[in-house]
Structures are given as C-alpha cells and as structure tokens.
C-alpha cells in the first residue's frame, strides 16, 4: 500500500467522522444508511490497522520510491562520467601529441621619410618618400619537451608591399610558383633552454633570443622579448649562453648571471687554406630586479668581439673597388660595456622610465682593405686603404677609438579607462662619433635610430584596440646626424648635417 492510499484513507475517515457528528446533531438518518456507513467505517478501520501493521513490519517501505529515483540519478551520473572521461582521453591524447604551441604577431606599418641634406654622388639634396607600406609576420613556436627541456622558435616574414625582385622573374602574382627570398619565412630564433636538474643553472643554445630586447617592450606594448638590451646587441645570433639564477642564493629577485659564446662569422673553409679569422663574441652579464623596487630591471654586461671583418663590399655608385684585403680579413677587436636600467609602472602610477648606456672600446688593426681606381690608359691606381674608423690618407689607420651611445625614454599610461588606457611615450638617444650602429640593427624597423652618430628623438602614442591582442601606434621620429659614413665603420667618419623626419602609423596584432 502506498503513501497516497494511506492519505486518502485518512481523509475519508476524517470526513466520515465529521458527517457523523453533524448527523448526530442536526439530521436524522435512515437506519439502513447508518448501518452501511458504520460497516464502511469498520472496513476502513481494519484497513488502517493493516497498514499500520505493515509499516511496523516494513519501516523501509515508505522510502522505496525515493530510493529508486536516486539510484537512477547515480546511474545517469556514472554514464556521464564514463562518457566524459572517454572524450577527455581523446582530448588528452591530442594535447600530448600537440607538441608545439603556436602563436603569432602581425604588424602592418605605414611610414613616410623626409631626408634633408642627404649626400648622393657628392651632391647634397633633399629626398622624400611619402608612403612606405610594410607587413611583418612572426610565428612563434614553443614546445615543452620535458620539465627541463624547452624549445622556443620564431619565424619571421618582413616585406614591403608589392616589393618583389622583378629581375628574378618573381612577383606577388606568381610567388606561389617562383620561390622568392623577399617573401620567405626566415628563422629568427630556434633555441633550447635546458634546465640542469634542480640546480639554478640552465643552458640556452641554438639561434638565440637576442633581438628587440629591453626597452623595446614599452614601444611595442608587450612584455620583455629578448635576453639583453637593444643597446648591447640587437642581432640574430647563433650561440650558447649559460645562465645561473641567483634568486635562491642571494634573495635578489629575477637575478641572473650569464656567460655567452657566439660566432658572428665562421670560416668553414679553413681546411682548404682559406685564411679568414672567425668573428667571435664572448659575453658576460648580470641582471636583477633592484631590491625594493618592483618591476625594475638592472643590467650590466661586457661583450668582446674579436676579428671584426674588413670592408668587402663597396656601394655600386662608388668610384673605386677593393683590390686587397688585410690579413685574415679582420680589422680589429671591440669591447662593448652596457649599463641598462628600467622601471615599469613606477609605484603603480602608469609611468615607465629607462636609461641605457653603452661604451665601445675599439682596438683597430693598422691594416685595412686597399681601394683602387681604374684610370683609362693608366690602369689600377691606389686610392686609399680603409680600416676600422681610420684610413691611410688621413694617417690614422690603426688608431684606437672609443664610442658611446646613450638612450633614454619615458612612457606613461594615461588614466582613461574609456580609451582602454592609451600610452604616450618619448625617447631620446645620442650616438657619439665612433659609435658602431651595426651593434643595434636587428630590430626589424626600417630606420635603425640606434645606429645613428648624432641625436634621435621619437614621440609616440599607443592606442590599445583590444587590451591583450591589438594596438595601434602613431609616432614621429627625428634624426639629426653628426656623422654619416657611406662605408659604414670603415675609413674616416664623415661630418654630416643630414636630418631625417619620419612619421608612422602601425597596427600590431598578437594571437
């Protein structure tokens, strides 16, 4: 007997007793009817008695239906969990096999250049380029091979719109069928970080993360993206770095000592008697967060490059050619000392500041590349001999030089929430007469302002479009040259009053 039946029996009984009373008080009832009712009541009482007895004997019977529904639920849950874990297994297998995480960044940029007093074939003139459009794509790769071994890579593509090498028969139209170096993916980085057991030591080797280092992150609206500051060396380097984390021992946060070795040029033909000296780089560096100053970064380093290569190419328009190279095609050694300091989001004010100082110690050889001119009827005639920042005609071949570069800037996050906190920035840098611009040329900008022997000013505004993924930057750049050497670091530095004004607009999307 169910709960429901019991309830209806009780209700009936109640109604019955109630009518009985009512009848007794007010109405006279036929005897037959009364006996019928009385009998009915007796049956009901019997039934109730039976029910009570049943419940006494089977106290669990009341909850039977509830228990049934619960087991049903549990059954469903079990089925669901089984199904979910089956599906999760598939997902897990997939994610284990997905060995490489992919990421990307696309930058599209419009620039204009206005040169004043640019020297072309010995004549000073002005030159304007109103628009230069370019695309830069970066694809980043990461693989956590094991807890201790991590691979990082980055492929890059950087191309001016519509700039193809027609001489090679390739253009944007037929690119899919004709390979063209202009549009190829290039390997910017490919390195392994190997963390030695539970020690604070790690080794990084391969094509290293050494381009667009601090303080590029302020301008690029990103986090730190390379090992060392731009002013120390901004170039793609193949090499090996040993990193020793100091956090545990000294309590200095994010502190690291590094020692690196790299080859910027390698003579793989030595066995054939080709006498070229390798251009090697040795670096030692220390970095740390300054105690008590959150988001600060201090960097000190020294890098020694020996056997800087001699002049081997001359501009097409030059009236001379190279007829002889110095021994081993090397013109000297250089050492670069770098001090870099930066503070991000100082005291949560939204203000960033950095200051960077690099000093180059140049040890020049007293030999250089011999330049000659061809005079009709006479033949090859000596023109000059050029070495590292010196030449034979001036009598300063082999003179040692010092150069320095100073780079500083601020950026400020404007407190406008409705505009997604835009940023304003200003940067200034000065390169001395014997600063070697090559040191900082890997940033992927069309104009390498850190390569200047003179002053450069840049002002920019960053408008975040999507706080994490997309921003626009609009900026103005002014470069005021003190020296400009068409032969780069070879021969005497030539005084220059050239100036360059550039405006740009770019949008950058990370994904």
């Amino acid at each position: 007997m169910g709960k429901k039946q019991l309830a209806s029996a009780l209700i009936m009984l109640f109604l019955l007793t109630w009518t009985y009373q009512v009848a007794a008080e007010n109405i006279t009832v036929d005897k037959k009817v009364f006996e019928k009712i009385l009998n009915h009541q007796k049956t009901l009482e019997n039934e109730i008695e039976q029910l009570k007895q049943h419940l006494k004997e089977n106290p669990a019977s009341l909850t039977v239906p509830a228990e049934q529904s619960q087991t049903e639920d549990v059954q469903y849950l079990k089925e669901d969990v089984e199904e979910i874990s089956k599906r999760l297994d598939k997902v897990e297998t997939r994610s284990i096999l997905d060995k490489i995480q992919l990421g990307g960044e696309l930058k599209t940029q419009l620039e204009s250049f206005r040169y004043k007093n640019i020297e072309l074939n010995g004549v000073k003139t002005d030159q304007n380029t109103d628009e230069i459009w370019s695309n830069r794509l970066r694809i980043s790769l990461r693989s956590e091979i094991s807890d201790n071994i991590i691979f990082n890579g980055r492929l890059g593509y950087f191309k001016l719109w519509g700039d193809t090498d027609f001489g090679k028969g390739s253009s944007d139209w037929n690119h899919p069928s004709v390979p063209d170096p202009e549009g190829n993916l290039h390997i910017e980085r490919a390195y392994i970080d190997y963390f030695v057991g539970q020690t604070p030591l790690s080794l990084t080797f391969g094509r290293l993360p050494t381009t667009e280092g601090p303080p590029s992150e302020f301008r690029n609206y990103s986090s730190r993206k390379a090992t060392w500051p731009k002013l120390m060396l901004d170039a793609e380097t193949d090499g090996i770095i040993a990193n020793l984390s100091f956090d545990q021992w000294t309590g200095l946060k994010n502190s690291m000592f590094r020692a690196g070795y790299s080859k910027l040029k390698q003579n793989f033909l030595e066995y054939q008697g080709v006498e070229l000296e390798d251009l090697n780089g040795w670096a030692i560096a220390f970095e740390t967060e300054i105690p008590g100053i959150k988001n600060s970064f201090l960097w000190l380093s020294y890098i020694l490059c020996n056997n800087v290569f001699a002049l081997t190419d001359v501009p097409e328009s030059a009236p001379f050619q190279i007829s002889e190279y110095p021994d081993s095609e090397s013109v000297g050694d250089l050492g670069i000392y770098t001090l870099h300091l930066q503070f991000s989001n100082i005291k949560n004010s939204g203000l960033d500041w950095f200051g960077s100082l690099a000093y180059i110690d140049i040890d020049a050889d007293s030999e250089g590349s011999v330049l000659t001119v061809n005079i009709p009827g006479v033949g090859e005639v000596f023109y000059n001999e050029v070495g590292l920042f010196g030449d034979r005609l001036n009598g300063d071949l082999g003179h040692d030089r010092n150069g320095y570069h100073f780079y500083t800037g601020i950026s400020y996050r404007l407190p406008f929430k409705c505009l997604k906190y835009p940023k304003l920035g200003f940067e200034y840098n000065h390169g001395s007469k014997y600063w070697i611009g090559e040191v900082s040329s890997g940033s992927g900008d069309l104009i390498n302002k850190l390569g200047i022997n003179g002053d450069a000013y840049e002002f920019y505004y960053i408008q975040p479009i999507d706080e994490k993924h997309m921003f626009c930057r609009i900026g103005a750049l002014y470069l005021d040259y003190d020296y400009y050497n068409p032969l780069n670091i070879y021969g005497n530095q030539v005084k220059s009053d050239m100036a360059l004004t550039s405006f740009y607009l770019l949008t950058d999307i990370k994904f």
Binding site: I150, N152, Y191, D193, F195, S202, L203, T204, L208, P209, G213, S222, S223, R224, K225, A226, T227, I241, N243, S245, M256, R258, G260, K294, I346, K347, N348, S349, L351, W353, G355, F406, T408, G409, I410, Y412, Y428, H430, D455, K468, K510
Partner: protein, 107 residues
C-alpha cells in the same frame, strides 16, 4: 650638451611623477606569494606549490567565479574578498595564455 639637458629634464619629470602618485598598499603578486603560497608550498604538507601558468586566464576566471577553492578548503577566513580580487588579477595577468616574458633561461 643637448643630451644631458634632456636627461635632466627626464629625470625631473620622473621624480615629480613618482612623488605625485601615492604608493599602493596592495599588490596581487605579493599577496599571492604570502597568502596562497603560505599553504601552497612543496613540502608544506598542506598543498602543492603552483605558478600562475597552471591555468589559462579563462580557467582562473572560472576558478574564482565558482569559488572552487571552497570545496578543497575554506580560505575565506585567511584571505579577504578584496585580496582575492587582487590575487585573481595577478593570476589572470600571468596565466598560461598571457604575454609571457622571453629571455634565455626563463621557464
């Protein structure tokens, strides 16, 4: 000495800006390292240590929204809602899918 004048101007600006902004007392990272890591430390016997990259940002979002920690351990007495907010911000900003810093030897 143009460059030194600019430098001095920059430094002046820097000092003024720093002075004019009141320092902040709360810091998500510091809170995470003191409060959460108080229990979450290997060898502590309470719970395993973990880094913000344990989860992606949307997973951290869900973790806090659904108050998932309560099932494991009620921490509402140790950590105030205001502090939880800052810690949540820190974890999301440093989650697995955040713009992580890159340099040799950084995990």
């Amino acid at each position: 000495m143009k460059e030194f004048i600019s430098l001095i101007i920059l430094l002046l600006f820097l000092c003024i800006s720093v002075q004019s902004h009141t320092s902040y007392a709360f810091d998500g990272e510091a809170l995470f390292k003191t409060k959460c890591a108080g229990c979450h430390a290997n060898g502590s016997g309470v719970a395993q240590s973990f880094a913000p990259v344990k989860y992606a940002s949307s997973q951290w979002e869900r973790f806090f929204e659904r108050n998932k920690h309560e099932r494991k351990k009620d921490i509402s007495k140790e950590i105030l809602p205001e502090e939880i907010k800052l810690i949540k911000n820190y974890l999301i900003n440093h989650a697995a899918d955040s713009d992580r810093p890159i340099a040799a030897g950084l995990k």
